[in-house]
Symmetry: C2
Subunit: 554 residues, 2 copies
């Protein structure tokens, strides 16, 4: 049965029932249809300090293009914790429509571990992405209009760094020239579109702690430089009020449910390869306030999403994870062990053992933070018992509990043992140790990430990046954390270098200051902030019948 068929057969609870079950006062619920709602924060108007529940961060090994089922495990684990009698909430990112129309598939789990209504969540949901696109491009239009209408701030059109954005995979918009057509149609300059999830506004929305903080962060956003090299921010343009207004509703976390009615907040959706890869601070905080166990995920492998969760999101959230779950699959490890995509259906213990080096490094990197680690083995039908035993044994040897999970087929029932392992792990002693101090220079921070997390040996800066390091230090921006933009397929910046490569260099070609988000993006290798569509895009298969029933979504 396809994911969409399982989803369409499900009997959902009315969203008010989900809210009541989660302990959310109904007057805080703004329904969007019958099965989605926004939560009008703060829940706790008097801001009485409240005991926080346990936080479980789900991350993964280096993924294959098919994905390792990280969202699926997150959802199934949440369902299993709920079934075990624990008050549980799940906090996920919201999907981008670009990949939905492209290749990746949805981001709402799969099989019997899904969040619903999956069609809505994967398409427009409650409009957050659209609000971000709109805010991003309104700001871009205001910048170009400022230059066109006299340029009081003396902005150098060649040095506008604020790009336009669309929630679409559209390679043709990566590099464009705008303002053609004569004196009434703007100023000619080079520009480009990023995918909306890579917009700084997405990061700002995910890190803002309330609407005032959102506005303050937006005011700090760097949009370009003057002809004499001074930074120009949104605050200088004095349009932070309008941009914040456009994001008013997008700031409110979205409530939905799993197939097993576990209350789930799906809010904020930066990719982990080109952005910081975590759901919103507000959603995670809300879940922590309401539930005893909050299960959240960070994008791609632990080198990307988890590192950024721990080094970028955690300081704002004010709460560190009580357990980190690393999702691994026999298939991904065999691929990391050297097999090609069409060799994965055969048992191959040697390849599994070779590929285990990848999981081993992810475990080691996460243990580095002082948080207990549990491995979740996402079971596939092609996995043999011998492979599964071997993988569990390898983990045991490294001193880590590894539990099988089969949530795709069984939902929460397929993660009972994993849930018990996680509950036990959350009671273990955890002493969070940050990876780096904010006082280190940008270069020092990057070296730390590369050597401690990626297992690389050094960092090579392109001339432009080297020049920027000096400039940024002058501006005082070198005290900010770093957000690495890197391929998800390898610890290195070469997507073909699988397993646990050693002795490699990371190549930083350019930095992008995100002063509102409060970090500096380092673009490594060939990573792109606007994806393209494949030769056979998913859009070709999507259809809708006269009753409005969608097919071909996944």
């Amino acid at each position: 049965m396809k994911d969409i068929e399982i989803a369409q057969q499900a009997e959902l609870w009315p969203i008010n029932k989900v809210a009541q079950d989660a302990g959310i006062p109904l007057e805080k619920i703004e329904p969007y249809g019958h099965f989605k709602a926004k939560i009008d924060l703060p829940l706790n108007v008097k801001r009485v300090p409240k005991r926080s529940g346990k936080l479980i961060l789900v991350t993964a090994v280096s993924p294959t293009p098919a994905g390792e089922g990280k969202s699926t495990i997150t959802i199934g684990l949440g369902d299993a914790l709920k079934a075990a009698g624990k008050k549980t909430m799940i906090a996920l990112r919201e999907p981008s429509m670009g990949p939905v129309m492209g290749a990746k598939g949805g981001a709402t789990g799969g099989g019997f571990a899904q969040v619903l209504p999956m069609e809505d969540i994967n398409l427009h949901f409650t409009g957050d992405m659209h609000a971000l696109t709109s805010a991003n491009n309104t700001l871009a239009a205001l910048i170009d209009n400022h230059i066109y209408q006299g340029n009081e701030l003396n902005i150098d059109p060649r040095r506008v760094v604020w790009k336009r954005a669309l929630d679409i995979n559209d390679r043709a918009l990566r590099n464009i020239v705008i303002g053609l057509g004569g004196t009434t149609s703007g100023i000619v300059r080079q520009d480009g579109f990023d995918i909306t999830v890579a917009s700084e506004l997405m990061a700002v929305l995910c890190l803002a702690t309330d609407i005032e903080d959102l506005k303050e962060r937006i005011a700090k956003i760097l949009v370009g430089y003057t002809y004499d090299g001074q930074a120009v921010t949104v605050g200088d343009l004095q349009v932070q009020g309008a941009i914040t207004t456009i994001l008013k509703d997008a700031l409110k976390p979205n409530l939905v449910q799993t197939l097993e009615h576990t209350p789930t907040l799906v809010h904020g959706g930066p990719f982990a390869n080109i952005a910081h890869g975590c759901n919103s601070v507000l959603a995670t905080k809300t879940a922590l306030e309401l539930a005893d166990y909050t299960v959240t995920e960070a994008g791609f492998g632990s080198d990307l999403g988890a590192e950024k969760f721990l080094d970028i999101k955690t300081p704002v959230l004010g709460k560190t994870p009580d357990t980190i779950v690393i999702v691994a699959t026999v298939r991904a490890l065999k691929m990391n062990g050297g097999l090609s995509k069409n060799e994965l259906n055969e048992e191959n213990i040697a390849a599994l053992k070779a590929g285990y080096s990848n999981l081993a490094r992810h475990i080691h990197s996460m243990q580095r933070y002082g948080v207990p680690v549990v491995v979740a083995i996402n079971r596939f039908v092609t996995d043999t018992d011998q492979e599964l035993d071997c993988l569990q044994e390898l983990c045991r040897t490294q001193g880590v509990v590894a539990q099988l999970a089969n949530v795709w087929e069984q939902g929460g029932a397929g993660a009972q043992k994993l849930a018990q392992a996680v509950i036990a792990s959350c009671d273990e002693k955890s002493e969070f140790t940050p990876l780096y101090s904010q006082k280190m220079t940008l270069a020092e921070k990057i070296t730390t990430i590369v050597t401690q997390i990626y297992g690389g040996s050094d960092v090579v800066y392109a001339p432009k990046a080297r020049k920027q390091l000096k400039e940024f230090a002058k501006h005082g921006w070198d005290q900010l954390p770093v957000c690495m933009a890197k391929t998800q397929y390898s610890f290195s910046d070469d997507p073909k270098l699988l397993g646990a490569p050693q002795g490699f260099s990371i190549h930083v070609r350019e930095f992008v200051p995100k002063l509102g988000a409060g970090f500096i993006v380092a673009l490594t290798g060939n990573v792109l902030t606007m994806p393209g569509l494949p030769a056979k895009p998913a859009a070709d298969q999507i259809n809708i019948d006269y009753l409005g029933k969608i097919s071909g979504l996944f």
Copy 2:
């Protein structure tokens, strides 16, 4: 008191109560927050033919840049009809965010004749504009991807006619070059963005009668031509299923309420100067099914919105208006009589009489269709009694009832007499006569519109337009109706030619085939399909406080 303050002090009914009041079954209501809903059509699942209520079309004289209060009168008239005990619904277009951030102000009425919640409706509302933007640009990305991935359909990149779109006033995007950056970033070609309301998808959404019809229309959309001059449609690309899926929810009419709780459908929002300027067929049909009196409006003066309502929308709607209300103001007529903006506060009977020629022509044009006409004089505080008497007398001389309305100050109570005049007028005999036959050629249709509605003498075609006329005849597209894109300020294509000019030519510079919408757009004069922002955009004043309260919206 500012509009937004009146709106924020209003006590709204929960949307379910509004729905019940309108006779909409609650299981058809999909709430978006507490005060907005989408209606899951069809209401009448068995499609039993139902007596249709009366249809009142509100249009206006040639407007001044400040607008003549057409939406305000539409809303106030609806409230007055309801207060008079008539089962009433209002059917309006939804605002575009571009002008909201730019100059125009909102599109939700004003004073005590408003639809609410005005902040939401003027910003993201229920996401329809965003869905259209998204569908428009997904299609654009799929076209460019098709060319990039081998171009099986042999599309000539120089002849792609499908443009990108944003719901933003952004002159810098009118003319752009895309696909720069080398072999991995697409094919270089010239392109441009229209404002979303000018997208053919907006017209298609507004004219579609159900989801099947929507999909069929989308399949017919022309996207470009092959190297050997063959038309290429969305159907050739086979992505109509995906594009329709993206528009699934946008197709459902949106229910809100006025300050006086009159149920109002706000759905579809093409501009009348660059598109067909009417709200959706589905919303109007729904209102006609439910109410005894449906009040709807078409954009700008009767030469634009009303002509298109009567010649483009009416054939699809299958119902012609029972009365046409023409909104006039003393101020607009004085301006049409030769006064400048800052001379309008002084009494000036001579200028009013001179400017009446404009109203006279609008009346005459509308009477041409065989539908009874009523003039609504939207009263301003600066109007003197002598001016108002004079204007009513001029209308009486032309054989038309003219009623004062003061809904801005008094809401529905300010339109009691107007409502009675409209009720009486709806009972008059009405024999609708279409302006032109679809069998006429495009040039014949345009000549008919220009001479019969605009009062011009002839049409001048630019070489490109002349060439297109021949091409389109070959393709068999000359049997479609024409959608004139023309300045709203004059009957002519010169915005400075006010009053009732004569002997002028209309200059058609280019045609744009909208085969899904089922009409051919004729671009006249300098009219632009992407507006720009003014030197002091409204965005500069918009703000939001820590409680989420918006200010400066209007």
